[in-house]
Symmetry: C2
Subunit: 725 residues, 2 copies
């Protein structure tokens, strides 16, 4: 028998685009995929005697390099029960195939109600990607399939089996035994290996992959499609060593940029009419801690800084050049950067590929060439650039000066600003590094992720992402980094329509939503769906200890609001378990008025007005081994009415901050607040209350729904890592 390399060589020599069914199965078999035994016969008598050997009933199919769509062409005859039927089928197939006939393929008839499909595709962003789903005639019509990007673990292969809607069919089903899960996992892992080892394989289809009544798995039909260019790199091919060196140098360039001692702004101006201070003004006003050089041949000084006519005139090579000049001038500036050895550049200017205009696309191509040849690391164009509070670096209007353990990588400048403003202004959590990088000329998402993975200041990485240039590198980095530092991603364009808007926005090719969802399932990265959610969930990761499980106790909700808590928990897979009789008994002792609802959620208004009760509830929850997490509600309206002026809100909050931490410090504990009387007076207590809780390290949210969401996302993160070690 041929080995795999010989087989593929032979197909390539014949310049065929695909393997025959028989060849496909030989190839798959070499990768540990269970295929049906079969033989090629080129004589009638041979067919009959093979059939005898195999045992009736058998299946006969046409065989030949040019035979596709066999069913439609009448080249498949199933359930043949005798020599006579075999020979008759043989003749019919031979005639129907005509000149394309090279023989017949004979197989036993594999019977089984349960037909699955498995396959390999090459995603434009992520490369070889393995599919598993419901097979047979309904594959496309039902679209019940899941994907994983190769390589992936055995655990992930296992999860794929459970992830499809029809996964019930893999259990014991209507008198048939449960499927051989090992064989299915080996099939998926084999496909992944095949895709990785053979870049010339564009696609593999196994359909049906039958589960027989005794649970065995057999690939009954298979097709392997080749394409020499399927995995060709976009741009010049670099050797592995060259790539490693490029990455190494990018890392160093980013280190210099994030820790810049000297920055030049090409196109520095005084504030424009709309009030925007411009790149230079922003850096100056924020109080950049290093040497700042404005470059503008028409001015002598800006904000008291001596202006220079060009980069050549500068007294030193700078750590970062910021470019803010009209689009058509940018290539010239880049050439000057190359000439002066200023190799790390942020281009603010827009109007390139993202505009969709011919001239913009041409300019970006020109810039790319200059940058690649000159070894420039270009952040942008079409982006807002940097915000690094410790260095007082900022290329937009306003930001907090407080640093913190969170970093943000954003493909959109608007979102970079909104996320940081919201998170720092509302919740006081600090970012140490923020970068908006727009069209990603030579530095892209994966480069920033790579840098932040090794950055000691950064404990949580947040991102706003649209497309990727090198999905495989990004995936690998994300998988590894997310184990140590939670990665939160707000992914724009996960809907079909949204995906269009993405490609018109940054010119990056967005991956299919299905593949992206698999990315999240596979890496354990946390998917969020809005600017606000990104900040809210980051806050939870920042403050909460590791969650041990999904069982959550909720304090402070009854009636319709309690129903809504239950609905929200159920939607997000956060368990709201019934308390045991034992725990209920203890609660009954603590909470006096008969008739108060002490189920979960606990509706004990009394606790908010009697700290003894509240403290005992905290203690019970902390000690109970049937509760993993605690969520509580602070009802501003009730509390406000207790004392003239509403000062009781602060009293209660201080108690929760102190005793909550004392008792519940060991368990993930989130506070939420609600106010349904739209009174400005009541509302004015919210920031006071939030500050007290945040200072105590308790994440706090407006509305239980946000708190449940944050708790659910943190719980899912730790659960993923517990299961994918």
């Amino acid at each position: 028998m041929l080995n795999v390399a010989e087989l593929l060589d032979c197909v390539k020599k014949e310049e065929r685009a695909s393997l025959t069914e028989a060849e496909s199965k030989i190839l798959l078999s070499a990768y540990g995929i269970p295929v049906v035994e079969e033989a090629i016969v080129t004589e009638e008598d041979d067919a009959a005697s093979q059939a005898q050997k195999i045992g009736f009933p058998v299946v006969l199919k046409g065989h030949g390099a040019r035979l596709t769509h066999k069913t439609e062409r009448g080249l498949v005859k199933v359930n043949l029960r005798s020599d006579f039927e075999v020979i008759q089928a043989y003749r019919q197939i031979k005639e129907a195939a005509g000149e394309d006939w090279e023989g017949c393929l004979i197989q036993p008839l594999i019977e089984g109600k349960r037909e699955f499909a498995a396959g390999l595709v090459r995603d434009p962003q992520f490369g070889p990607t393995v599919m598993f789903g419901l097979g047979g005639v309904f594959t496309e019509a039902l679209g019940d399939a899941t994907f994983r990007i190769a390589p992936f673990s055995e655990t992930q292969a296992e999860v794929m089996l459970d992830e499809i809607k029809s996964s019930k069919l893999l259990g014991a089903f209507r008198g048939e035994e449960k499927a051989d899960r090992d064989a299915l996992k080996q099939t998926l892992l084999g496909l992944a290996r095949l895709g990785l080892e053979h870049p010339e394989i564009k696609e593999v289809d196994i359909n049906p992959l039958i589960v027989t009544p005794d649970g065995k798995v057999k690939a009954v039909d298979a097709l392997v499609v080749l394409d020499e260019n399927a995995d060709a790199p976009i741009g010049p091919a670099l050797s592995e060593e060259e790539q490693e060196q490029w990455i190494q140098e990018t890392r160093q360039a980013l280190h210099r940029a994030f820790n810049a001692e000297s920055v030049a702004v090409v196109g520095a101006t005084k504030p424009n009419i709309s009030g925007f201070a411009g790149m230079f003004g922003c850096m100056h006003l924020f109080g950049f801690k290093g040497r700042l050089y404005p470059i503008n041949p028409k001015l002598d000084e800006i904000y008291g800084h001596k202006a220079y006519p060009n980069l050549t005139a500068l007294p030193e090579k700078v750590d970062l050049v910021i470019v803010s000049v009209p689009a058509q001038v940018v290539p010239g500036v880049l050439r000057e950067c190359v000439a002066t050895g200023n190799k790390t550049i942020h281009i603010f200017t827009a109007g390139f590929k993202e505009s969709g205009e011919e001239e913009g696309v041409r300019l970006q191509k020109e810039m790319k060439q200059i940058a690649v040849e000159g070894g420039l690391r270009v952040i942008g164009p079409n982006c807002m650039g940097f915000y690094v509070p410790n260095r007082r670096m900022l290329t937009w209007q306003k930001a907090s000066k407080k640093s913190g353990p969170i970093a943000l990588i954003s493909q959109s400048g608007g979102n970079a600003q909104e996320i940081t403003h919201y998170a720092t202004g509302r919740y006081g959590i600090g970012f140490n590094k923020v970068v908006s990088y727009g069209n990603a000329l030579t530095v892209e998402s994966a480069d920033f992720l790579d840098y932040l993975a090794g950055d000691d200041e950064t404990e949580i990485i947040t991102m706003y992402l649209e497309g990727l240039k090198n999905g495989r590198r990004f995936l690998k980095l994300a998988e590894e980094t997310n184990k140590k530092k939670p990665i939160l991603i707000y992914k724009g364009g996960l809907s079909e329509t949204g995906a269009q808007a993405v490609s018109s926005h940054t010119g990056a090719l967005a991956g299919g939503p299905k593949i992206w969802h698999s990315f999240f399932r596979q890496t354990g990265c946390v998917l969020v769906e809005s600017v606000e959610e990104l900040a809210e969930v980051a806050m939870a990761f920042h403050y909460l200890p590791e969650t041990k499980g999904p069982r959550t106790a909720v304090l402070g909700y009854g009636g319709g609001a309690g129903v809504s808590v239950a609905d929200n928990c159920a939607k997000l897979n956060l368990a709201l378990p019934d308390f045991s009789e034992d725990l209920l008994g203890k609660l009954r002792e603590i909470i006096p008025p008969a008739g108060t609802i002490i189920r979960n959620p606990i509706d004990a208004m009394i606790a908010y007005f009697d700290f003894d009760v509240m403290g005992k509830i905290f203690k019970l929850m902390a000690e109970s081994d049937e509760i993993d997490n605690v969520l509580m509600s602070i009802p501003l309206d009730w509390l406000f009415n207790k004392e003239e002026g509403g000062g009781y809100i602060e009293t209660l909050t201080r108690y929760v901050a102190e005793e909550g931490v004392r008792h519940l410090g060991c368990k993930p504990f989130i506070a939420t607040w609600r106010q349904y009387m739209p009174s400005g007076k009541i509302r004015s207590w919210a920031p006071v209350m939030e500050k007290i809780l945040l200072d105590a390290g308790i994440p706090v949210y407006e509305g239980m729904a946000r708190g449940i969401n944050a708790m659910a996302k943190v719980t899912a993160y730790y659960d993923f890592h517990a299961k994918n070690k």
Copy 2:
């Protein structure tokens, strides 16, 4: 052949729980459902000659009143191709069936890859409910099914066909013709009729319902299950006339309550320690416009009102009695109500069925009996009661005195307060009638809906619902009323876990989430998922004209935020179409700076600072026949920076209010605002801006996501009615 009545009588006489397969098909056939032709044979030779008549291949099945699970018992033999095979199968079946054998059923083999299932179940809330879904062996495993409550229209039957995930199989599929949709619709409508006409039929299963290669539809297997008590009424059976009279009197009682001239409060007290004014205090403080009688034997007067010892002592029969006394005393009060002829009662007191405690359940039962026998209309117990601003009626702490065209029916008192506070306080929209009715002793959701349907003041009906007592009546009312007055329902307990919390909260049985989703699809009622959303969507219905379609233009978003707009529109089926070249050309003429994104969403910052541009954009959108709706964003931060103090926000808003209405009055137009710098100064402009827009009749939301959601819900409502006339 037997007719249907005779057939069912015969089965009942034999005390059988189900019909045989053959009987089932006779019954279904009488209801226009296409069934396979078949015959019962009790002799071998007969079997063979019938097979000849039918034509090979045939199917043979066991026949008998006690034969179930035929496949598992080996009583089904398919694909019999000769006399010999038929006779062999006949003998095997006869032997396997043993004493249960009454004959064999012989059918032609119906071949077809496409197997569906249809059926009838009797939902505990909604009664006969028809199912359509994917059939064959995968029915349960894939769970691809949809439901409609009988009766439903042909249009709805049509929608069912398209609603299942596997609906693609109904089109031309792999060389097979498209399915006979008429036959499928007749099947579903026939099942509905069967369920309505025969309350003793508990369940019907047709599986498989095969679509043959030529598109024909055949019910190949069928089962009809009977249950004499399936549709028995809960509580005493009333004649139709009695029911009509009860409903009529309830309507009158509610009219008196909502327009009360005189109200007595049993258990009137001075304010309690927590600061709650109590039922009487609330009515008094809100300034009830009629005669208000406190009843408390221990007091002489309350708030200057003379107190009475009991109802008997009152100088008149009152329009409404409010009861706020300890639970165990309530039955006595109800007896006094009966004795004094005070027949409309709101019971505030809790601690009955909802408590889950034995004594509470017993008390409620006792109260129910008193109420039914005495003809009392009881709102509650365990509820907050009424809020009617025009009558200055209020049984909770605080509320707006402004009336409006919206009514609210809420099963939760907390939600009733939150919804009205939020809607009136934030958006200034008025409610004319609000009622919270808790455990619904003798007046329930359907009664309030019935009243509001005929109430001239009410244009939009909103609800917070958990369970229903009489789902069928509610459905019918909702279907009819929603055509004239949009009905918005916040349904608690749509998740499994949530459903548990519901039943523990009000003691009402919640319907399965699947059936509830069908309820919304069938009636066109608008489903919302939170207190805030209910108010927000109600506001959109209040202000917007009828929408003509989903094509929406969005003004004011680019970059990452634009991507998020596209994602949100896609999720909610609101179209964000590309503009035509013609429209783009016109926009290019209006919006000066080259490079500005004029696609949809339009990212034209200039328009916010140049009213000439803004006005022209409004005009273009108003005139364009490729745009149905317009959404705009008001970016507070940009506008705030334009002038010291932020006054430009007001200038711009006034322009939008005037010109927006002038140009866009004809088209649904929603404004949204965003603020990402968490500055209190900027935020303080939000209420000013909201008020200007609301006064001009433009609904306004914080954040584009809420605006998109409201627009999408309104659009879906009018679209439903256009399609279901």
